[in-house]
Amino acid sequence: MKSPSDLDLSRRDLLVGTAASLAVTAPPSVANAQASADGSQAAAVEVPSISKVSFTVNGLAHELELDTRTTLLDALREHLHLTGSKKGCDQGQCGACTVIVEGRRISSCLTLAVMHEGRTITTIEGLGTPDNLHPMQAAFVEHDGYQCGYCTPGQICSAVAVLDEIKAGIPSHVTADLNTQLQVTTAELRERMSGNICRCGAYSNIVEAITEVAGRQG
């Protein structure tokens, strides 16, 4: 099996490739040259803009030069080859791209990489390893919290952050009283996890997995 860094660009990858990969194959200077070679198309040629950004992912510092259009998700997957975070809908509706930035879960598809200068990012690869699973990963395995597994990295990143949100006292839509201590209930977990869609429908097992971890954390 190839390691993620050896991934070859398939025809499909090229066709659906991100703006960022386009920047690699056609740097601005080339695009400019093409524009000036055919003046009639000059206005139609869109020149990518490149910007620098530095951030820390799973404990490692990175400095990247990216097409400004690169989402955080594409930076993680296509540039840092951290392919655990998944591209599901690419419009913030499915939660497969959920990562944790500065302790908060966000949709990495709806934010630009350049907007994360100096930030600390945790992806599924940073939570645990195959030999040393994060408790939430172990609980998902134990409770069968998935079938196909595509949404699972996002579910697990979200679940870890959800328990932190409850500990921090952040209320939810189903919290009965805004001014009392929060409880970890099935209703709370279901509401808080509603931004993570599982097309296989493993929801009840996902809730059981999170409930078990919450119970152990006390």
Binding site: S49, I106, S107, T111, S158, P171, R192
Partner: protein, 316 residues
Amino acid sequence: MKPFTYERAHSPAEAAAAAARTPGAKFVAGGTNLLDLMKLQIETPTHLIDVNGLALDQIKTTPEEGLRIGALVRNTDLAADPRVRRDYGLLSRALLAGASGQLRNQATTAGNLLQRTRCPYFYDTNQPCNKREPGSGCSAIGGFTRQHAVVGVSEACIATHPSDMAVALRALDATVETIRPDGTTRSIPIANFHRLPGDSPHIETVLERGELITAITLPKPLGGKQIYRKVRDRASYAFALVSVAAIVQRDGRGRVALGGVAHKPWRVEAAEAEMPRGAKAITAQLLAGATPTHDNAFKVPLVERTLGAVLTEAKG
């Protein structure tokens, strides 16, 4: 996505000036709506001004005993603020009824106000839409309109404003604080901030070119029972078919604003005189002159019933 240049702003005045002098510039904060629209090329800024570095992320008490909420306060933090939970429960509830945990962690107070409609014809770039392409026509009129507006509509547009937060702010009589490119500031009552579609539905607020929201201020707490009831197709993570924001005082007086029915948060102050007479009387005035379509005529009785449920809850 179309290419764009990018800069990080260092002060509100600088950001506003940069936006005014750079053609095709837009501010970006949370980006949850803007990025989505840029991918679809519904928004095509050629320059983005990242305002996330501006120190506008605090919630402070005002001399008038209200709150000044920085434009960059994230929806999660605003909903969770102890003062908001205690004194402006309506606002916490509205925020928590919207979007998902991930999106509330990114989305900002100002950005929430400025989000665009989720009208499916606005999103479908193959269809005419006066909001997306002024003068091209409205595909919703005569189309599938279950989600659309029933009141304050025009022949050019029947889209709704999607925000829950804005509905609560309308009931609370919030004020939008801004800075203009020339450095002057102004305060815009929330009632005047969003526009009805008229014949220019692409102009959604009264903000001028380059004008930047710096804060939202809330007046002194109003007390009373504060209830936000959202009716939607899913129990979570869906836009409102209808929502009711109500503040009900012990004597039965109060305020009501609606979401999901108009191009802006919908409040008719005169209708509030009917509060002691109940939901039917209030709704008759709130939705007077409503022009629902075949698909969304259900919203009129749904408003009345939801308001009825809210008023009953307020008595409990």
